[in-house]
Amino acid sequence: MDFLKVTSSPHMRHEDTTRVIMLDVILALVPALIWAVYIFGTRALVLTIVSAASAVIFEFLYRLIMKKSATVGDFSAVVTGILLAYTLPVSVPMWMPVLGSFFAIVIVKQLYGGIGKNVVNPALAARVFLFLAFPSEMATYTSPFTKLPAFANVGADVVASATPLSNLKAGTAPDEKLIDLFIGNSAGCIGEVSILLVLAGGLYLLVRKTITWHIPVSFILTSAVIAYIFPGTGMDAVQYVLSELCTGGLVMAAVFMATDYTTSPVSSKGRIIYGIGCGLITMLIRKCGSYDEGVSFAILVMNCLAWYIDKFTRPRVFGGAKKNEK
């Protein structure tokens, strides 16, 4: 008589658990990693593994020491670790992703209560922390296909390469062709160089309905519009817009970082406002700030505003009072 059992709602269930979602994100991140290994060598893979593993270990140890339930099984720490590694240059020493993971997991995530309770995106906050703490290491980029040791620290003799982004900042056109920038044949962070493969990962997440289109599209479109209105010198507007979009971590951040569930608004309208805000601040920093890349700061600022956007765009409760009725 099982079918006559009376239960309370919900009656329809979906297999979307945190673990499934996180596994989807990891899967979507894999193509960018394969490309990174292809152009930067095994060091990129080792850095990513070190970062993800240390994130998991820190999460496990923190929950163990504080006598809280173990949460490593949901794989969110793995995603944080991978995302952190993706935003690092390939020449950083091996201890740096470990330190970054500690900051991301313990300070940004667990001290606020763990998964679902952090205010800002852990991976991005850790990236900004490393960026402010070690400005020179975090700004040393190597050209594609430079031979780097897989494990040992990279010496100071490594040839630093100008990134397309720093070229744009300096007001000149990037040396690379647009198609190279799009495919990822340029200097940059491990997971951010290949726009094509990041977009492919994003498309997979869209098809799986892990993310919605609102944030990435509004983020990227806003950046494009601003780049079109205020073009750089030495190239036509369309080329400039495409170069801005295909350099740095803009697409990577728009697809994987800004769409983090915990730190982005819930409603569609709110997500569009959030994406526009991210785009505006990113371009403001790229155009007027002293740093090359403004994506991480932009998303962190909007993370802090997400609760307010949610409050502002709260939909009317069905059957509830109308907005202007008291």
Binding site: L99, I107, L111, F129, L132, A133, F134, P135
Partner: protein
Amino acid sequence: MNTLKKMMRAGIIDENPIFVQLLGMCPTLAVTTSASNGFGMGLTVICVLALSNFLISLLRKFIPQQVRIASYIVVISGVVTAIQLLIKAYLPELDKSLGLFIPLIVVNCIILARAEAFASKNNVVMSILDGIFMGAGFTIALTLLGIIRELIGCGTIFGFDVLLRFGYTPILFFVQPAGAFITLGVLIGAVTAIRNKTDGRKKALKGDEAK
């Protein structure tokens, strides 16, 4: 003697101006880039706090209720100016490293808070003791913050090489303003956790209400 012990505990642990009352955050965050700066600032505040509490306690029966805050500020700024001149004369190095933050002690909320909450209601001796213990709590907090930030951010403590000789790469972040906020946040969390554990949750909550 028991009261003395109680006041000491209140100033340093239970009602620590920085970790519990969260008063005077501006100098706390700004000057603690090194242990000696934090310590110097703390000592200055002890002097100002003890003297201002002493004077305000003496004057408490003459000051009209309606203009008491303004009167307190006049007394406090007088004390601070005197101490600033003394530091300029005898500790020029400390004056150089603390700079603007010495005159800014006038608007430090701890001083006014103790004047309003304690010195205006208690006798002279108690007020001086309260100033000294509250100042001690402030000094301990600032020195601790300074030690941690200097150790991680520069690899030294009070200017002595501690970590650098082991090939440590200083994390500049911790001597920057953002590092101050994070270090302070972690410290407040740790102190609160310790207080909760030692006093039991009830007593800690009571302390919060009293504040």
